[in-house]
Symmetry: C2
Subunit: 446 residues, 2 copies
């Protein structure tokens, strides 16, 4: 199976980062252990990483991951074991679990993901069924899938404050639906544990909150391993109240782009990195790679043409964009069969359970790869992400994957902080002031 290689021109600094990560492994793992005693890991998550040689950083963190069908099946036992650990806390005795998926009944690849997730949880010893929010699902509906598996969608039934199926009372509800369109009435006021909590859906979640929390945890880890936090953390800023169609907020965007480019340029100069800075402009609540553009100059976000405005103005479920994240672009220096590639790492509870490369033959190393035309290559680690080998060179695949696992778990930890904040409203509501940690580090222009 394909193991990706790094373009060698810039491997020096990443080797340094990986050496430090390997050398500090007992400290890193001890620190994570302590953190997970204070903060409950999300049920699951996936992290998009960018490896620029001089920098290894998360650029997106998904709390409702699809794509379980793209994971290497050889490592499914890891996912099963992780699920068993999670379920220990959640359901005593026989565990009935209800998956509530997205409403895509025609996207068979998505449904393969749901079937894979269902099978994994069944193999962990749970009784698992799938309840659809779609009103047209009134009776069990079995869909045959391209990989030979099948998925039965059933009608959700609400009994007072309990959610289930006609003949199934789950102890917990697992959302594989990111709630972009808001929290359906069916899911409101439920007594059972819903994981991830509905508050973490895209109707209320903001990427900027995630990266504000990531600033904090990345600062701790960077200190622990003795590196500049920037080598694991992209700069960012946010603009609120943007209306692409009405052309409101262009000045804020241009100014934020300018600031992030300038800070990046300064850092490049400081570290002798010969790269042209760019930023990714993204809907702060967007997903599925919608509402994303790659920008090298502030002028590019002013006076967008109709096509660009249409692209940026709405995301999944036709939701209008109003908050916009401007994130330092981290070029990917990974290629797989001459196409640019970025790793996506999957976690269940606090454990790395696999990953794949998102590969795009038609895109550059400074572009969004989450776009039509992409495909997936399972991470082919002989030894998966938990097993570095100090006797091997730091860029040997198992070691590189350990570093990927550390950075992904760091993003997962940030998500745990983020969920706590969403649950307790400790941070300000979206549209109000920026989170403190972001405000301190990343002044938000208005």
């Amino acid at each position: 199976m394909a193991v990706p290689h790094l373009t060698t021109a810039l491997t020096g600094p990443l080797l340094d980062l990986e050496k430090r990560i390997l050398a500090a492994m007992p400290e890193i793992e001890g620190w994570f252990r302590a953190q997970w005693q204070e903060h409950t890991p999300p049920f699951y998550g996936s992290v998009d990483l960018r490896n620029a040689g001089y920098k290894l950083a998360p650029v997106d963190m998904n709390l409702f991951p699809a794509g379980f069908n793209n994971l290497n099946p050889v490592f499914r036992p890891l996912a099963i074991q992780a699920a068993q650990v999670t379920v220990d806390h959640l359901c005593p005795g026989i565990a009935n679990l209800l998956i509530v998926p997205e409403n895509h009944t025609r996207n068979l690849y998505y449904l393969q993901n749901v079937a894979t997730l269902r099978d994994t949880l069944r193999l962990a010893g749970l009784k698992v069924r799938v309840g659809s929010l779609l009103p047209e699902i009134t009776a069990p509906t079995t869909i045959e899938l391209p990989d030979g598996n099948s998925l039965t969608l059933e009608a959700l039934v609400r009994r007072g404050r309990r959610l289930g199926l006609a003949d199934f009372d789950p102890c917990m509800v697992l959302l594989n639906n990111d709630l972009s369109a808001g929290l359906p009435e069916m899911l409101q006021g439920i007594d059972q544990t819903i994981m991830p909590p509905p508050e973490a859906g895209w109707h209320s979640r903001r990427k900027s909150r995630h990266f504000a929390a990531y600033d904090t945890v990345a600062g701790f880890l960077a200190e622990l391993i003795g590196v500049d936090p920037w080598v694991i953390n992209p700069y960012w800023g946010v603009c609120r109240g943007v209306d692409f169609q009405a052309r409101t907020g262009e000045e804020c965007l241009a100014e934020t782009v300018r600031q992030v480019l300038e800070r990046t340029r300064t850092k490049y100069r400081e570290l002798g990195i010969d790269q042209k800075p760019f930023v990714m402009v993204k809907a702060d609540a967007g997903t599925y790679g919608m509402g994303v553009m790659s920008v090298k100059d502030p002028s590019e976000v002013v006076g967008l043409n109709r096509k660009q405005r249409n692209k940026m103005a709405v995301v999944k479920e036709g939701m209008a964009v109003s908050d916009v994240l401007v994130q330092e672009g981290v070029p990917t220096f990974e290629t797989l069969k001459d196409a640019v590639a970025e790793p996506v790492v999957y976690m269940l509870d606090r454990f790395v359970i696999g990953g794949f490369y998102r590969v795009h033959t038609g895109r550059g190393d400074d572009e969004n790869l989450n776009a039509p035309g992409m495909h997936f290559e399972p991470l082919a680690f002989e030894t998966c992400c938990s097993e570095p080998d100090a006797a091997k060179k730091p860029d040997a695949p198992p070691n590189r994957f350990y570093a990927y696992g550390v950075i992904s778990r760091l993003s997962l930890l940030a998500a745990a902080h983020e969920i706590e904040a969403l649950m307790t409203e400790r941070y300000a509501a979206p549209g109000a002031v920026a989170p403190e940690s972001a405000a301190a580090e990343q002044p938000e222009p208005v």
Copy 2:
């Protein structure tokens, strides 16, 4: 890689057992979850299984497993993840762990086992060093191993009630030494957690206690899945105060052999099994396959010749045998390249992490395979032991391995009961009366 096949003549009943195990999976896993909340799993363990087609049962349970070097390295991430779960409970923050191995400095295969165990725990993020009980180890001594790895043995240092090395204060001590020769002074009155507890060493442990505890848990599981407990549990009896050299206790042995053979013969008749019953006569505190004989008739244990008496009278570390277990023989119907084979399943915390086949080209299906001339074949499960597939036939390898995992974990649960009893002295001391559960089911002839 080799996947063992079953002799097909007698697959009927095992298929039935496996079908029941697969069908009851959520109940089995829910039951185990509840059990592990009441009973702490041993740090690690290995179980020797025998698969007779009509019966799948543990015949030995090791609390100080060697052989980690024989596990399939592809599944090491499972062991790492399991170790991380264990360490969560044991060591907060940075975890220093000290392994105390057996005193075999010339058995390089054993030392490869210690090195593999050390590496696995290091990869779980622990700082791991190895402290030897040997008085001749006064300075760090590095031994190069046949597989290219190396192992450094260091001198144990006692500071008051803490055990460590000159510059290493562990939060826990992991015994990979079964204490056949007794509990060394160095390990007495230690403040740190020692795992497994020294009380579980072979100086005080008795196989009969394990199988008494196994009678109880096997009874529960058999009821849960609706099978005769006998299909997962061998009959047994025990004789105390046997002295092979002085020919004391031969009558007890002969009578116990007669009873176990008779009960087995009755069960064979009841189930229509066309087999000649046999028993294994084993030192109740023995290990390493020493002090074991296969017997088909009570007369065989009376009037042993000098060679037989010498073989049975002493076990590891020259310890004299006084308690003798008589266990129903379970023939192995598994063969690997025409040699008889028995699976050995490894667990860490409550998780199956791998296994191998013990193979002996020179032994029959009714003999002890743990004998000079044996070799090991890693279990080659593409998907390891946690992943049955309901869509496949019950005898497809992943399903067979799931069943192996269930029975092995059942034996592990019995070991947890056994350790609790050893720690609290709830059961009678060895040499006194038989454990109650054994006494009820298995009258102990005197």
